[in-house]
Symmetry: C2
Subunit: 201 residues, 2 copies
DNA sequence: TTGACATATGACACGTTGTCATTTAAGATT
DNA sequence: AATCTTAAATGACAACGTGTCATATGTCAA
């Protein structure tokens, strides 16, 4: 987590810093990003960076968390829009992510092509909320369970795990192969179809 | 790929080097591994390392590829053992990976908790073989398609994609949460059950 | 013995990281 | 206004890691 001093920053200075951070993580993935570049582009002395963040990772996860918060709103919105149909929500979410433009796209590309467990775990919160609160229950209540082939609470969790792992892998494939929106969507929809109807006769 | 000089090495020296490499990548994930440590533990001069490998990644992927080759044999073996039932093969493979012991386990843990796209792609070859040859067709021919709910060649590919992504995420979860073999297996089997019967009523 | 080629070696230049002693700023107190 | 106190800013620096390169050493054939 960013240090208190970060939050005490004036809006302008904070924006300047965030932009520099974003720029660096859009340029290269976390492992290749350099603090030297960030401070250079934000025009702050090196020591200052460490006044605001613990390290590279800290800055990266700050950015990621902001994105996850936006995702959560998006997920709610899409779930409502599709009347609680989780499959349709996933497809809409998939489409939204892969059509992101410009710097955001590069950030996402670097993010998805370098999905360590920690990053995946954080990103997964887009759908689950944070354990500490009741967001998962809240989320669950928005889902139309009528159409799902599950017999208990527990199975719903596994269903979500399956869906998010297929979603993630599809996004990764899209970015890695630079697939067109159309191709990517067709592939993902096909996988969802298979998932819905089952893999075994 | 390792350079020719690497393959010209005497068996003893090569073993010594490989062990040092393995040790380092069992200690920490790729991004944190250091060549300095490797050469120290292999007792070779720094320059020699670069005589054999391009860089850290090169050494890492060499190790990974060796593992993938072994996986391929294992997959064939397990597929035969279970009469072409791909679901049973997956479960058996899952069990084998998560019960790996000692240094191998640490290597795998670092591997799975830091699954970048490139690593995942390489690892995925455990099931698919290499594109350049007919291994995928060969693999496919060993699978009992009778029990699969697919209507064409193409759908089989998607089915494999789904299964491998669920398998991977399950392994990752097992390592990240340090689950017991029993818990992990129970969870994975449940997911396979859901996958088989379909997620939608 | 010599030449030609492959391999080995380790010092070095370069870049990056995180720290810390020092300076500067911002309030609070008298 | 002068002084004190605490927070924040600064940049030089030590420590470390990387990849290279000029030089040394080994090998083998002519």
């Amino acid at each position: 987590m960013p240090k208190i001093t970060f939050y005490n920053l004036s809006i302008e200075k904070r924006e300047k810093l965030i932009n520099a951070v974003k720029q660096e993580f859009s340029r290269v993935p976390l492992s290749q990003a350099s603090i030297s570049n960030i401070v250079k582009s934000a025009r702050i002395p090196r020591g200052s960076f460490y006044q605001y963040f613990e390290d590279k990772e800290d800055a990266f996860f700050y950015l990621l968390e902001e994105r996850v918060k936006r995702n959560q709103s998006e997920v709610y919105f899409l779930l409502n829009k599709h009347n609680g149909d989780i499959f349709e929500m996933m497809i809409a979410f998939f489409e939204k992510v892969i059509t992101e433009q410009d710097e955001n796209r590069n950030f996402l590309k670097n993010l998805f092509l370098n999905m360590t467990y920690e990053v995946e775990h954080e990103f997964g919160r887009s759908f689950k909320g944070y354990e500490t609160n009741q967001q998962f229950v809240q989320f669950e209540s928005k889902v139309n369970k009528e159409i799902l082939h599950i017999s208990n609470q527990d199975e719903f969790k596994y269903l979500m795990k399956i869906l998010t792992s297929v979603l993630l892998r599809s996004i990764i494939e899209t970015f890695s192969k630079d697939q067109s929106k159309e191709d990517a969507l067709r592939n993902f929809k096909l996988e969802i179809t298979l998932l819905k109807r089952g893999l075994k006769k």
